[in-house]
Subunit: 387 residues, 2 copies
Amino acid sequence: MKHNLLIAHGGGPTAVVNASLAGVICSAQKEKDIGKILAARHGVEGLLEEDFIDLTDFNQDSIKRLKTTPASAIGTCRLKVREEDCGLIVKILHKYDIGYFLYIGGNDSMDTCNKIHLITNDVNVIGIPKTIDNDLAVTDHCPGFGSAARYYAVSTAELALDIQALNIHVSVMEIMGRNAGWLTASTALARKIISGGASQLIYLPERPFLEEKFLYDISSAWKKRKGIVVTVSEGLVRENGELLVNPKHKSTFDSFGHVLIGNVSQYLADLINSKLGIRARSEKPGLLGRTSKALVSEVDREEAYDAGFTAVQQAVKGMNGFMIGLQRISEEPYQVKQKLILLKDVANLERKVPDEFINEQGNDVTESFLKYICPLTGKNFPDYFQF
Amino acid sequence: MKHNLLIAHGGGPTAVVNASLAGVICSAQKEKDIGKILAARHGVEGLLEEDFIDLTDFNQDSIKRLKTTPASAIGTCRLKVREEDCGLIVKILHKYDIGYFLYIGGNDSMDTCNKIHLITNDVNVIGIPKTIDNDLAVTDHCPGFGSAARYYAVSTAELALDIQALNIHVSVMEIMGRNAGWLTASTALARKIISGGASQLIYLPERPFLEEKFLYDISSAWKKRKGIVVTVSEGLVRENGELLVNPKHKSTFDSFGHVLIGNVSQYLADLINSKLGIRARSEKPGLLGRTSKALVSEVDREEAYDAGFTAVQQAVKGMNGFMIGLQRISEEPYQVKQKLILLKDVANLERKVPDEFINEQGNDVTESFLKYICPLTGKNFPDYFQF
């Protein structure tokens, strides 16, 4: 008997989350057990308000355009599902004869997805991973990460070209990633992209941030070259566990208790200016890091699409309570296979950058990290001319 | 009789200044009156230190790569030529038998260029325009501007996609441009790029910035839609003529007295958070706006190349003391022709966004501005899918 499918999206958009949605639609259109393909606008918000878009007859041309559009075409949200919402959710899923519920998101969303799995009996629930932060547990990496990593790697390389052309200042660039420094680490790829490398320092939130050590690193690098790029995670913390820059306003908290972290890069640029008398500025591409169409990783986009495609197949097969994960089966050539991971094993867990990927001094990454990340960021990096 | 050519670059890099350099090299290699083609490293700094690169036999493949590399391959500087340097400059130009001196730069650099023109007799001096700020006088627009404008237009469109997908906050994005708001104005193109437009507000430094009015604009827009993109010039000034955010440190000044302006976007995001209780964040791509290879405007790149190419031809013809400007001779199809502008007519002058390009409320641009800017930013804007 046919049942309907409902797809929704939770958490921040990425450059390839629409590719996962495109994969879901394509796959669902092929399944004879699926009736309508519905999408909730703005995640669980749309679910609770029965605000659905019918994608059953979504055409091939639109799917193709959707697949290459950044951000989230169906909208997303940062709403935590409350206990008292659960009854309503069950009722609505029943009302619309939803047999398959797919949720695209990161660790908070996988928790939401698991909750919905636990309160429903006759709905097959599958999670589709999505996070630029790459902090989901168990999976080798996560759709959305490779493209953001490519954005930051290329941007860091271009920033280094600019900074070195002028050769008069330090630029501190702030990189997204609250607790996990995967994206900040990815900026190290800049040295693979521009020949001759760059004078570059990298600080991850996995290590306590020591201002004295930081200033020592900067002044040492400055003696060698007057054009330094420093990439720092937005979530840097001091030895006492406090954020380097504390948020100022209550309105910056979302319903998960996450906060909009304030301006670490400008704080550090000010520090360099005032303590070392070295001209320093800050760059903070912020959300641009996760929405660039031009700097999408093709590898990432295809993996995102495939995760969506497979999620539907698994749900129709009767799988329930799983997330589609990735397992790397070969380094050269790079190859991955999908695997099913229990939602409860990823919900609310956070994977940080492991020690073997961070250098001893805590101001760079290791070669093994570069080996890990390189294939995820795609091919055909820009070709720059350098004297 | 053969003489040598010297090329140098002053001021901030752009995405296409290397294209102008490529044009110079290509053109000079064809001229039988030119002996060596020399480039000074880091502008007048390299000139004063006789730090030259010989590009006479620079090969075609390298020229091609150079043409598409952002930043400045020969390096640039922010050094003001002092009176006491003039004698030394004349001596060095003589020593290296320089018959042709070309300087690529903005208004400060055209002043430097004019100074060198005035102190030399037997050197033909030609300026090649370069500025992302588009603030050079007399010329219709300036190489470097179109690419930065494309970067900001596409980035604003992508930011709007992201912000509207979440629909929970305001993003204030800071745009380069100290006194002239051309680049900030260019973000209005976002509404041409994404169908259905965006909830967008735009503030240029040409109008005094009134905080009360700004907060009123934000809360009015917020009532209509909970996802707003605000683009602001880094150089916003209050009614009393003071910068919105004053620089903190002496080390942030360069030798022209220009200052690294601090973080207007974060200041305004804080203001929205504290005064309106609306979740607001800031983005500040900063230098990334002028160094992106992926978002170069092809029109801009070709005009930059052509300006370099022509500069050599004019210098060889005996022209001296001019800058290569652009005159728009047709709107549809877009067509420009080059014209010679006296260096003294552009040196140190600054062209701001005229009144007819700014809306009455001072929070947007006019249709006539969009008509002006559209062709400069190139073709083939990204195609986004939207419900």
